[in-house]
Symmetry: C2
C-alpha cells in the first residue's frame, strides 16, 4: 500500500471515530482520561526504556544539549504528564454547550451549539510530553487526533501512545480516536497536509521552519503558534518601580518561553531615570542587552541592536532595548516587529493605556502586568494545546473551548420559504 | 515594478488602513455606507456603461447565457445593491463588543473583546454585485478589503469600486481601505495567495475549480463555501403532507441556490405512500428525477441515480431520490455524500429528530423545516458574505460578526508571574 493510501486509511478511520465519540458523555470521557493518567504511571518502565533508545540514538547523532534536554523523560516528567491528564478530566466539557438560541421571524427556533471539530492533526518536534497532552485535550473535546511527532522521539511517542490507548481499548471506544504515524519518512507530513477531505484542522508545534512548511503546504486549515516576540513599553507616565519589576519578570523569570519579553521600549523622557538602574539589574542577572543608539548611552558594553534583533525571538537571556519618542512610535514598532502574541504597557495614564490596548494588534494586550501571564492556566482556562498567534478561530490560549466549533440546530413546524 | 511587488504594496496599504479604521465610530461608518449607497445611484449611468463594455466582450467570446445573466447589471440591480448597503448601515456594529470578562486568580482583569480581523481578500467570479456587498460588509466590520473579481467583469467592478470609493475619499479615510486588483493577469491570484504576512483571510466565492485552486495554493487562512449538497430525509414517522410541502419548497422554490435540496431520502416503510404523489408533483413542476432502484418503482421514466449524482450539486431542477432502510442509513448517506451545508429531517418522532440533529455533521441541521432557510437574513443576522461549509472560525452564514475576531485586553496592578 502506498504511503498516501495508508494515511488516507488512518484519516478515514479517525473521521469515523470522531462521529462516534461526539455523543460520548462527559463522565465516560473523564473516566477514560483518569485511566490514561494511571496508564502512564503503570507503563513508566516501558516508556522510560523506549525513551532511552531515542536518547542513545540522539547522542550518537550528536544532537544539541538543549535538544536532548527536551527529549529526555524522567519519572518526574511522566508524573507531570499523568497529572496533566487528571487535570483535563476535571475541566468542564465544552461539547454540547448552548451558545445562543433565538426565534427567527419565520418562527423557527435556532440554537447555536458547541460541537467537536472532528479530526485534528498535530505535527510536532521532539517533546514527548506533547503526545499525552494532545491526546488528552483532543479526546476531552470530542475530537479524533492524528499525531506526527519528530522522528527522534518516535520510540518514546509510541510507548506513550500505547500506554494511553489501553484505556481507549478497555472501554471499547473506536480505535481510530487516537492515531500516531509511526513512519519516520519525511514525506508523510507532506502527504498528510493534503488530506483536507478527512482532516479538519492541523496544528504545528515547533520551530519556525516547521511552521513555515506547514503553512506553505497545507490544504487543511492551520492554527499556529508562530513566534512570541513580546514587548513591554515603559511609558512616560509609568510607575518606574512597577516597570522595573514587570520588565525584569517578563525577561528573566523564564526566558525560554514564548510569552517572555524580547524587546523593551522606553519613552525618552524617562529613559535617563529608568534605564541605568534597569540595565544594571539585567546585567546582574546575566541578561545580554542589544540597544539602540540612545539606549547604549545608559550603560557600558551594550551591543548595538540591528533590525534583525528586533525581529528575533531570542528565547534566551538576551534583550533588545529601544528608546522611543512617544507612544505612537512604540505602537508602530510593536505592530511592525511584533508577532501578535503578547505586549504590555506600563503607565499610570489612562488615556495612553486605552490607546495601547486598542491599537496593539496582538492576541493579549496588557496594562501594568507582565506578558508572562499569557497561558491557559493563568487565564483560568485550564490546560492548553498552545498559544495561537493567528486571528481566525482561536487567538491566544488554545484550550478546550478552542478545540470545538459550533453548528446550528433548527426546530420547525413545517415552515417553508416563500421569499 | 513586478506584479508581486505591486500586490505587496496594495496589501501593505490595506494593512495600514485597517489599523486606522479599527477605531472608527459606528456612526462614521454608517454615514459612509449611506453615502456609498447614494454613490451607486448617482453613478448608475457610468456603471451601466462599463457593464455594457463587459457584456459586449463576453458576447463576442460566446460565453453562456447563464454567465451573461450573472454579469448583467440593470437599474433594478443597482438599486438592490444600493439598498443592501443601506441595510448594512442599519445593522449592529459588532466591533468593540465585550464577549466575556473575568478576574484571573492573579487578580488580573481579563476582557475578551470583538475586534476586526484586519485585511480580507475576496476572490470571486462574474457577479458584479459581489463587489459592493463585500465592500459594505468588510467596511462595516472594520476590515480592509482587497477584491479580485473575474476578468470578464473588470470594467463593471472598477466602476462600482469608483462609485463607492468617493465616499471613502470624501471622509478622508485611508484609501487603502478598499482595493481592487485591476489586472486581468491570472497569476495575480497565485501571488496574492502567498501574502500571508499582510492578508489575514481569503474568501473565494465561485465554482468548484476556483475554490480548489484557492485551497491548494493559499498560505492565507481560507473560509470557503464549497458546495451545497443539501438533503431532506422523510422519516417513517413523518407527517406526509408536511414532508411534501417541505421537499417541494426545498427543491423547486429556487433551485439555483446553495440551500436548495439536491437529494431526497425516504424511509422504505412510507415510500409507497409518499413517493408516488411526491414524484408526480415534482414532475408537474418540471423536476427531473434520478432515483435508486427502489425509487424507480414509484413512477415512470425515472433515470437511475449514479454515485456521481449523489455527489453533485445540480443547482437546477434535477433531484436525486433514494429509499433508505432506516435512519442510520440516511445519516450515513448524508455524512458521506453531503457537503456539510444544510440537511433536514421530517419526522414527528422526537427521538429520531434528536438523533438526526446530533449526528448530522453539517452547519445547519433542521427538523421539520425547509433547508432553504439557511441564509443570513432568514436567520436574523442581516446581510451575509456567504455560507461557510468549513468548520473553523465561521460555520453557516458569514455575517458581520463572523468578519471579526477577538483579542484579550488585560488590566493589572503591577502583577508579575512567579510560578
Amino acid at each position: 500500500m502506498s504511503l498516501r493510501q495508508e494515511l488516507i486509511n488512518i484519516a478515514k478511520k479517525a473521521r469515523q471515530a470522531s462521529r462516534q465519540i461526539q455523543e460520548a458523555s462527559s463522565s465516560l470521557k473523564n473516566n477514560v482520561l483518569k485511566e490514561m493518567a494511571l496508564g502512564l504511571i503503570k507503563g513508566k518502565g516501558f516508556i522510560l526504556k523506549a525513551n532511552e533508545k531515542d536518547l542513545k540514538k540522539a547522542k550518537l547523532l550528536g544532537l544539541s544539549r538543549a535538544f536532548l534536554e527536551r527529549l529526555t523523560l524522567t519519572e518526574k516528567r511522566i508524573k507531570e504528564m499523568s497529572d496533566s491528564l487528571l487535570e483535563i478530566s476535571e475541566l468542564k466539557d465544552p461539547v454540547g454547550e448552548l451558545i445562543k438560541a433565538w426565534k427567527a421571524p419565520s418562527g423557527l427556533l435556532i440554537k447555536k451549539i458547541r460541537v467537536p471539530i472532528g479530526v485534528i492533526a498535530i505535527i510536532y518536534e521532539a517533546r514527548p510530553n506533547v503526545t499525552s497532552d494532545c491526546i488528552g485535550l483532543c479526546f476531552k473535546s470530542g475530537n479524533s487526533v492524528i499525531l506526527r511527532g519528530g522522528k527522534e522521539a518516535l520510540n518514546s511517542n509510541l510507548a506513550i501512545y500505547q500506554a494511553l490507548n489501553l484505556a481507549i481499548k478497555k472501554h471499547n471506544l473506536p480505535v481510530g480516536l487516537v492515531n500516531i504515524i509511526d513512519t519516520s519518512v519525511r514525506r508523510a507530513v507532506d502527504e498528510l497536509l493534503k488530506l483536507n477531505n478527512y482532516i479538519d484542522l492541523v496544528m504545528p508545534r515547533g520551530g519556525e521552519g516547521l511552521i513555515k512548511k506547514v503553512v506553505e503546504l497545507s490544504r487543511i486549515p492551520v492554527i499556529k503558534h508562530y513566534k512570541g516576540i513580546c514587548h513591554v513599553y515603559v511609558d512616560k507616565y509609568a510607575n518606574l518601580d512597577m516597570a522595573q519589576d514587570i520588565c525584569f519578570n517578563a525577561k528573566v523569570e523564564r526566558p525560554a518561553v514564548c510569552n517572555a519579553m524580547e524587546c523593551m521600549l522606553v519613552h525618552r523622557d524617562i529613559a535617563a531615570k529608568f534605564l541605568p538602574r534597569m540595565l544594571e539589574k539585567f546585567k546582574a542577572a546575566g541578561v545580554q542587552i542589544r540597544g539602540c543608539q540612545a539606549a547604549q548611552k545608559f550603560a557600558k558594553g551594550i551591543k548595538s541592536a540591528s533590525q534583525k534583533d528586533y525581529l528575533t525571538e531570542y528565547l534566551d537571556l538576551i534583550l533588545s532595548v529601544k528608546v522611543v519618542e512617544n507612544l505612537d512610535e512604540a505602537l508602530a514598532h510593536i505592530n511592525y516587529y511584533g508577532s501578535g502574541h503578547s505586549d504590555a504597557i506600563v503607565t499610570e495614564n489612562k488615556k495612553n493605556a486605552l490607546k495601547f490596548l486598542r491599537a496593539v494588534d496582538s492576541a493579549c494586550v496588557y496594562v501594568n502586568a507582565s506578558t508572562r501571564f499569557t497561558d491557559g492556566h493563568q487565564f483560568g482556562l485550564g490546560a492548553e494545546i498552545g498559544i495561537s498567534t493567528d486571528k481566525l478561530h482561536a487567538r491566544g490560549p488554545v484550550a478546550l473551548e478552542e478545540l470545538t466549533t459550533y453548528k446550528y440546530i433548527i426546530y420547525g413546524k413545517g415552515q417553508v420559504r416563500t421569499v
